[in-house]
């Protein structure tokens, strides 16, 4: 009898140990109820102590702006923290889920996370409208205001970076293969060029993280979609994962891979960097900010690199797309919202701040007035004397579509990267894997598939 009781207790222990895991969600899982947005008062515009969360390069650039900021606002003490990317997303999520506890006052947020935060944690981010954001409504690149203020009333953040799709390439390899990179009109032509390059120089056309070891493994696929003005969701929020545009994009990737033109960047960033240093790929289809990275990583290759806007997916199609953006938001729980806003406004709406940041890390501003500065129109010795800033400015000025990331972007992205892995590793049919992904996304989110 005693033994029986002991055994029951032991079993209870096993169950409790299992249930212990539930604490993980419980501790941080109050969903929308916690973040009220009314938690913080606006405070004073020129007084207070504020903390800013960002990552690596941008954090360093903001830190460098603080002394100048303090000349204007001596009463505001600013601490800029480099949380690291992607660690910052988990940290913001847990903070928002905990009703804003422990969050910094100013948060640097990517376009891929912003809609999710806004929808799942109402009030988690302060409305910047009443603080004065609307005065800057027309100051930013096209589509940016729609991203930060989808309903045109609440302003969830202020735009910072607007990254356009770019096509960085090794001009020397193209030359060796006898291909004129500037003349490539479509990605189909580029694939043919890739075959020449592979045959003559041994370099791959480009690289993709085939097993999707990082969430951004589908960047290239997404760029091909966005060049066609398409995305994972329609503007009304329906699923468009298996649209003809998406199938076209994935088919292009499959064609490249089947022709042996895609190197594997499994491992994400580190693999990308070593590929860059070893010159295993002739093209880096990366957005604006990546130019600064190339210059930093392979300074000895100055003059070998060039940049242009990507070829169109279909002949005559668009070569411009804003593939991502980042923003500064103010936490709804901040006790110094007005002071935090002063900092955000200083960094993002003053051309001088943005020019300084561009000089430091090559981070492209969404603030159009910044482009009046000469630095965006100077020839770059690294990029063979090209005016790199103007290349991307052209893209920012071109008509480009707005994209609806929705709160379910992370789920969609996961399904897309899985589908891409199936195509790249197992030779699966693009149309089929995308259809499966769309159906599964519908099952998970309750959204309609638009077909």
């Amino acid at each position: 009898m005693e033994l029986e009781r002991r055994r029951v207790l032991q079993m209870g222990g096993a169950i409790a140990a299992g249930a212990g895991l539930t604490g993980l969600t419980a501790c941080s899982g109050t969903g929308g109820t916690g973040a009220t947005g009314q938690g913080g008062s606006a405070g004073e515009k020129d007084k207070g102590k504020i903390a800013v969360w960002s990552w690596q390069g941008p954090a360093a650039e903001m830190k460098a702006l603080v002394p100048e900021f303090n000349k204007k606002y001596p009463g505001i003490e600013v601490t800029v923290e480099d949380i690291g990317n992607p660690a910052i997303w988990d940290k913001i999520t847990t903070g928002l889920a905990a009703g804003g506890q422990g969050l910094a006052d100013v948060l640097h947020i990517g376009v891929d996370y912003l809609p999710g935060y806004v929808e799942k944690f109402p009030g988690g981010l302060a409305d910047l409208g009443p603080l004065g954001a609307n005065a800057h409504r027309d100051a930013f690149a096209q589509g940016m205001w729609q991203t930060v203020s989808p309903d045109g009333k609440r302003v969830n953040a202020l735009p910072w970076e607007a990254n356009s799709a770019g096509f960085y390439y090794r001009a020397d390899l193209f030359e060796k293969a006898g291909v004129d990179a500037g003349a490539l009109q479509t990605w189909e032509e580029t694939i043919e060029a890739g075959k020449e390059i592979k045959a003559k120089t041994g370099a791959h056309l480009l690289g993709i993280d085939k097993p999707a070891s990082q969430a951004d493994a589908a960047n290239f696929f997404q760029m091909l979609l966005q060049l066609q003005g398409a995305f994972y969701f329609s503007l009304s929020g329906d699923i468009t994962l298996d649209s003809p545009e998406a199938v076209k994009a994935m088919t292009l990737i499959k064609t490249m891979n089947d022709a042996g033109l895609v190197s594997d960047l499994a491992g994400g960033w580190n693999a990308l960097m070593s590929s860059l240093k070893q010159g295993t790929a002739a093209v880096l289809p990366m957005p604006t900010w990546f130019g600064g990275i190339i210059q930093e990583q392979v300074p000895e290759e100055a003059g070998k690199w060039k940049v242009r806007l990507p070829p169109a997916v279909r002949r005559g199609g668009s070569t411009a797309a804003t593939v991502n953006s980042t923003h500064l938001a103010v936490a709804g729980s901040s006790k110094h919202q007005a002071a935090a806003w002063s900092f955000v406004e200083f960094v993002l709406t003053r051309p001088a701040s943005q020019v300084q940041i561009y000089k430091g890390k090559g981070i492209a501003p969404a603030l159009m007035a910044a482009y009046d500065d000469a630095v965006f129109h100077e020839p770059s010795p690294f990029f063979g004397g090209q005016k790199k800033g103007e290349v991307f400015l052209e893209a920012l000025k071109a008509p480009s579509s707005a994209f609806n990331y929705t709160a379910d972007y992370a789920r969609a992205l996961k399904l897309v990267t899985d589908a891409q892995s199936k195509v790249l590793l197992g030779g699966a049919d693009p149309a089929k894997v995308l259809k499966d992904a769309a159906d599964q996304l519908a099952q998970q989110t309750g959204r309609k598939v638009s077909r």
Binding site: G20, L21, T25, G29, G32, T33, A97, P211, L425
Partner: protein, 307 residues
Amino acid sequence: MTVTLTGSAARAVPSQGTAPRPRPRRRVAPYLFVLPALLLFAVFKLYPIGRSFVISLHKTVGGTERFVGADNYVRLLHDPLFWTALKNTAVILVVQVPVMLALATGLAVALNSTLLRGRAVFRLGFFLPMVTGLVAYGIIFSVLLNKDYGLVNWVLGLAGLDSVPWLTDPLWAKVSLGLALTWHYTGYNAVILLARLQSVPAELYDAAAVDGAGAWTSFRHVTLPGLRPALLLTTVLSTIGTLQIFDEPFVLTGGGPDNATLTIGVYLYQNAFKYFDFGYASAIAYALAVLIGILGVIQFRFLGEKS
């Protein structure tokens, strides 16, 4: 009257047959001592467990929590990714845990052997992986197993073998995960088994030897039965640990490629912290807890002492 007696005074009086038994209320001190632990348990375990159940019955729609009853659980049953995660976890459980425990038993017996010199060094060596920081260990394994620049493939190359896509092929990724887990936990289990082994009376081995038992026979009939409680403990702990496994797949493969190493723990994490779907994540946690409970009961039934 006895109420006023202090504990020591009561004990000073030799107990008579007729003396009243000490009343339970005098045993307040032990409860006071365990109170802080109980409070902490209630706040950090019981409350989250209960709260997480409540959350599992809700869904966030347009920023507000809406009661949806068992919807999240129904959705779970129809979610192919949950079943994939369950299957992957089950594969690890069925393949890796027995291999690891067999290895741990072998190690424990070897480390217990008086024939071995410098046993302390070996014991330390096998236990060290357990205290290695997860991130350090994750990074070391990703470097070792990197397809193009990894040490393991370099060594294979020296032996004239093809390089293996350790982390990038669905099957090999599972194997890599198993290897990492085995490296991490075998020593820990071996130490538990070793502790038990040292309580097996030497006389039993002597008696077996006198009866003419060889090494294998005495292992089967003396060592194994002696190890039984420790084996039960390590099996149950490893089962619970494996079902909750999160760190290794998260750091090594992120659950990929194409969900080949997606475990329930990783899926739970993704739903909570990537998709902000806390209700669904809580439902997954409860499904997991029930599963662990059931498996625990089964293991006690099959491996427990026979009364």
